[in-house]
């Protein structure tokens, strides 16, 4: 069982969450052009290592939780609210 520590609900089973992708991308300005929007929607780094991502607590408090997860080991280094800046381990 993979536990994700929701900032509101506490540790909950992964089955209660929906993965919502990379939490580091930011929406370009409206006039940034088609290439910037293409990158915003489609281009992802797919790293082997620590990744900051969104997990939606769909079956719980329905909030988007920010999670620092290792893509190879699934270890979770930190979780937080959407506006939190989370520390990402060096390696």
């Amino acid at each position: 069982m993979h536990l994700i520590d929701c900032p509101w609900c506490g540790p909950r089973d992964e089955a209660e969450f929906a993965y919502r992708g990379d939490a580091t991308v930011t929406r370009p300005a409206p006039d940034a052009g088609i290439d910037a929007f293409y990158d915003y929607v489609f281009t992802r780094a797919n790293p082997r290592g620590w990744h900051v991502e969104w997990w939606h607590h769909a079956a719980g408090c329905r909030q988007h939780v920010k999670v620092v997860r290792h893509t190879m080991t699934h270890a979770i280094a930190a979780t937080g609210r959407a506006t939190d800046i989370l520390e990402v381990p060096a390696a």
Binding site: C9, G10, D13, E16, A59, C61
Partner: protein, 202 residues
């Protein structure tokens, strides 16, 4: 000129004809108690930046302190259960159609949004010494102390069904709120899980 409010029929039990009174499952010993509880159920959410105003309004009108995450509170026959940031479920014994929602809306004013869920959701209860063992068959929460206990509540999923779990006392008694449309499959999960201990539907 506004049209008159159309008459709304009282909620029917989604378990009518399914939850039949009687004793079932293993014989001997004290059976678990399972019941559907007719309740008025209202969802209350604070408008942006108005959580403090809403808490004061609800406290003033009902003597009820809206609880923090993971908790429930009770006063004057109303239970409040935290369900998400700045939002709660309020439950009371079923009275006149729409009465609780109207009362809560009157108290909340423009500090909160009120949705009557009395038709959309239904309340069941499970009580007995073995209740925690029944819950463990489908509930992923840690229901043992100190993680959970009387006055604690959580929104989770049981048997793939979204469920609000509220521990009411030390017996333990659990209040379980599920969508009415899924009340029958939930009741079937509950009774088949309770069968090995014996249960009484009241």
């Amino acid at each position: 000129m506004s049209a008159p409010e159309p008459a709304v029929p009282a909620p029917r039990s989604p378990l009518a004809g399914v939850a039949t009174t009687g004793r079932y499952g293993a014989a001997g010993g004290t059976p678990l108690a399972i019941a559907e509880i007719p309740a008025a159920i209202v969802q209350l959410a604070a408008r942006r930046g108005r959580a403090g105003d809403l808490a004061r309004a609800v406290s003033g009108a009902f003597g009820l302190d809206l609880p923090p995450p993971g908790r429930a509170a009770s006063a004057r026959g109303i239970d409040a259960i935290w369900i998400q940031p700045d939002a709660w479920l309020l439950l009371a014994p079923r009275g006149a159609e729409g009465a609780l929602a109207a009362e809560v809306k009157r108290a909340a004013g423009d500090a909160g949004s009120v949705v009557d869920q009395s038709h959309g959701k239904t309340l069941m209860s499970l009580a007995g010494a073995a209740a925690r063992r029944v819950m463990a068959k489908g509930c992923r929460l840690d229901l043992d102390a100190p993680a959970f206990g009387p006055g604690r509540a959580a929104v989770t999923q049981i048997a793939q069904i979204g469920c609000v779990v509220h521990q009411r006392d030390a017996i333990p008694t659990y209040g379980l709120v599920v969508p009415s449309s899924l009340a029958i499959p939930f009741f079937e999960w509950l009774t088949s899980s309770a069968a090995e201990f014996g249960y009484e539907v009241g």
